[in-house]
């Protein structure tokens, strides 16, 4: 008897849970896979949106655990913004499948691939294999590190938010215009800071910086990784030291999630400098939003280059 009533209670409890309607909320719930996208969504959405970013700016966005806590966030989202270009290939799809949220599935209205309107570099042509390391067949996914692309992403977010919340269209347009102005003013600053170092040759750890370096006129002449995603090897490191000496490159830019041992060994040999830059919003404490990210990186980079080049 006891057992039977317990079963009844459990069943009715479950039934009620099934019927419980979702509590409507005035804010659009935006989930962004990275803090960069999250920052742009906050810039445009203001208090009309609540933004959750999954990957932290100081973690390698290729290797993020698809944690069930992320499933909860995605299951509640009205809009999911992704970097795309297969950056999230190792972790996003289990989240999408388990989220049970049809609003944000690829192809749905609440899914925004931020890479669709930006400038993509390093799209491989011809045959590609994994002998080339972790190649991204759809081009380099670190495209947000060009403020021009940031502007394009913000436009895409503005349009998408307006589509999802038509009543606030003017609000989003206003916030975008404001962001656009601040970004343009900041770009003047950054360009001025970087102008003396046009054409300087540098090395980066991973291929995270092509858009950034192209935008600010630096030339990436080599990588600490022998191939994308492959850890440093002694042979490659020796070659790189030789090449850096030959062309006079002194600076190695490293993401905060890579080990500094090899870069430091290289710069010790050539009398150069290792610089840890933030590859994403949140990658350093000071890089709290999209504009501060560049303020932080450009500040560190220009002072390091000043010291190394004497310009």
């Amino acid at each position: 008897m006891l057992k039977r009533s317990l079963i009844k209670q459990t069943l009715s409890f479950l039934f009620l849970m099934l019927l419980a309607p979702a509590i409507a909320s005035a804010q659009l719930k935006v989930v962004a896979t990275t803090e960069d996208l999250g920052s742009l969504a906050s810039e445009i959405g203001g208090d009309k949106v609540s933004v959750t970013s999954l990957a932290k700016g100081y973690q390698d966005p290729h290797f993020v655990d698809p944690k069930p806590s992320f499933i909860l966030a995605v299951s509640r989202a009205d809009l999911l913004i992704v970097v795309g270009r297969e950056l999230e290939i190792g972790w996003l799809s289990p989240l999408l499948t388990s989220s049970r949220n049809s609003k944000i599935q690829p192809g749905s209205k609440g899914y925004l691939d931020a890479s669709m309107t930006v400038k993509i570099l390093e799209i491989p042509s011809g045959q590609i294999t994994r002998a080339m390391g972790d190649v991204h067949p759809l081009g380099n996914p670190h495209y947000w590190l060009d403020p021009g692309n940031g502007r394009r992403m913000a436009q895409a977010i503005r349009d998408k938010l307006g589509e999802l919340s038509p009543n606030d269209k003017a609000f989003f347009a206003q916030r975008y215009a404001d962001f656009d102005q601040r970004l343009a003013a900041a770009e003047k600053r950054w360009d001025a800071a970087m102008a003396p170092y046009k054409g300087t040759k540098i090395v980066t750890y991973h291929r995270s910086w092509p858009n950034f370096m192209e935008r600010f006129g630096l030339e990436v002449m080599g990588y600490v990784e022998p191939k994308p995603g492959i850890p440093p090897s002694p042979g490659h490191t020796i070659d790189l030291i030789g090449e850096m000496k030959r062309v006079g490159a002194k600076l190695i830019v490293v993401e905060p999630y890579f080990d500094l041992k090899t870069p430091q060994a290289i710069t010790n040999q050539i009398g150069g400098k290792v610089l840890v830059l933030a590859p994403s919003v949140g990658g350093a404490k000071e890089a709290g939003d999209y504009i501060k990210l560049f303020d932080y990186d450009i500040g560190l980079l220009s002072s390091a280059l000043k010291q190394l080049t004497g310009k």
Partner: protein
């Protein structure tokens, strides 16, 4: 009378259902939709980028400060042409090569074998479901390891699956061989839950997400035909001899780098103990109870270099047979530590009774070293000592070599 409450329970479990972490751990990436889309757009991307570059060069010529960029072009429409290949499923093949040295009189393994090569096909079926197929190619035959459709657009935080699938009983039972942290399966799984094959059967599964605050709960209920591990665990003698699995999984983040995953499982089905001359005289059943816990530590800024995972499962089996109810139990406790970008070290303690004779207790210890050149290949050595209840202690050295080609799978979690 006895059967009624069990069926009720099972049905209730089915109502409740939730998918354990295995779903996340296992489903390979379903990049397919994204990729299809992107593939379609790729062509015109080339052109558009060329145009953009030209524009950029122009706008940058006089002064590097770009004026506010014009409105982005409307998202390009997918190219009409392109052909059916965009809808081909993501395909991957994972080879698993195993070498064993040492003596084991109770459960000997071949010196060298290719026990299983897994071929997977995964794609989105339509706006309402996706499909995942995993074919296991042994040295002599092919078997459908899993093949199911997942309904992703159900209301009420529900998710349903239909087809053949690994049951949501505990953790290890849900995992494919290539994502296990060991070269073998723990003793308790082999003795009580059907070993390598485990509870893997044709059936339906319903799982519901039940978040309580920021704690993730998922309840899963599954009903299967009633066969498991080739009749060693469950054996269905009549169409009504279904087997049932219920699972509740909880998960919460302790900090951003540490989390705890825990669960409880129940399963029930008919066993083969009462079958005499192909007639099920005994009509005996087996009940399984399990609890599991997984603790993970992965510091985010050093996530590719260091992590630690501790896991444990305790399983209890109540197997009815002619000589009465056998109540056997067992557990494993394991820890794995990644100490460098490509290197893992690990250990596991095993102990388990035997399902058909609870008085026989096997014990084991393993020590592992794993080298992963990339996320697509893995070389693992495992020293395993097994003290069998009914025979000499086995000392074995297992060497496992795994390699994957094809679509990029999701990272196991």
């Amino acid at each position: 009378m006895r059967a009624i409450p069990s069926v009720c329970l099972a049905a209730m479990a089915a109502g409740l259902l939730l998918l354990p972490g295995s779903a996340a751990a296992q489903s390979q990436p379903d990049a397919s939709a994204l990729q299809q889309q992107i593939d379609q757009l790729k062509k015109e991307f080339g052109e558009r980028i060329a145009a953009l570059e030209a524009k950029l060069a122009e706008s940058q010529a006089p002064a590097p400060t770009p004026a506010p960029t014009p409105e982005p072009a409307a998202p390009a429409q997918a190219a009409a042409a392109g052909g059916a290949k965009y809808f081909n499923p993501d395909t991957a093949v994972i080879g698993n090569f195993l070498g064993t040295a040492g003596h084991n009189e109770i459960n000997p393994s071949p010196a060298l074998e290719m026990p299983e090569s897994e071929v997977s096909f995964q794609a989105i079926v339509d706006p309402y479901m996706r499909a995942d197929f995993y074919l296991a190619f042994g040295e002599e035959g092919v078997e459908l390891e899993e093949g199911y459709a997942t309904l992703t657009a159900l209301p009420g935080s529900l998710q349903a699956k239909a087809g053949k699938m690994r049951a949501a009983f505990g953790k290890v039972n849900t995992l494919h061989t290539h994502v296990l942290p060991w070269a073998d399966r723990p003793l308790v799984i082999n003795n009580l839950v059907g070993g390598e094959e485990g509870i893997s059967d044709a059936g339906v599964s319903v799982a519901r997400l039940i978040p309580i605050g920021n704690v993730f709960f998922e309840a899963t209920g599954q009903v299967f035909r009633g066969d498991a591990a080739e009749g060693e665990l469950y054996k269905s003698s009549k169409p009504g001899d279904l087997s049932y699995v219920g699972h509740l999984r909880g998960y919460f983040d302790i900090t951003e780098s540490t989390n705890l995953d825990f669960g409880g499982s129940y399963s029930q089905g008919h066993n083969a103990a009462g079958i005499v001359d192909d007639v099920d005289l005994g009509r005996f059943t087996t009940q399984l109870f399990g609890v599991d816990a997984t603790f993970r530590w992965r510091p985010l800024t050093r996530a590719i270099y260091h992590q630690f995972v501790a896991r444990t499962e305790y399983i209890r089996s109540h197997r009815d047979q002619f000589d009465g109810l056998q109540k056997a139990d067992g557990f494993y406790v394991s820890g794995d530590y990644q100490f460098a970008r490509r290197w893992w070290i690990g250990g596991r303690l095993d102990q388990s009774g035997r399902a058909d004779d609870a008085s026989l207790l096997d014990r084991g210890q393993s020590f592992l070293l794993t080298f992963m050149p990339t996320e697509f290949s893995k070389l693992r050595g495992q020293y395993r000592r097994t003290a069998y209840a009914n025979g000499p202690t086995a000392h074995e050295f297992l060497m496992q070599f795994q390699f994957a080609i094809g679509a990029h799978g999701a990272h196991p979690f």
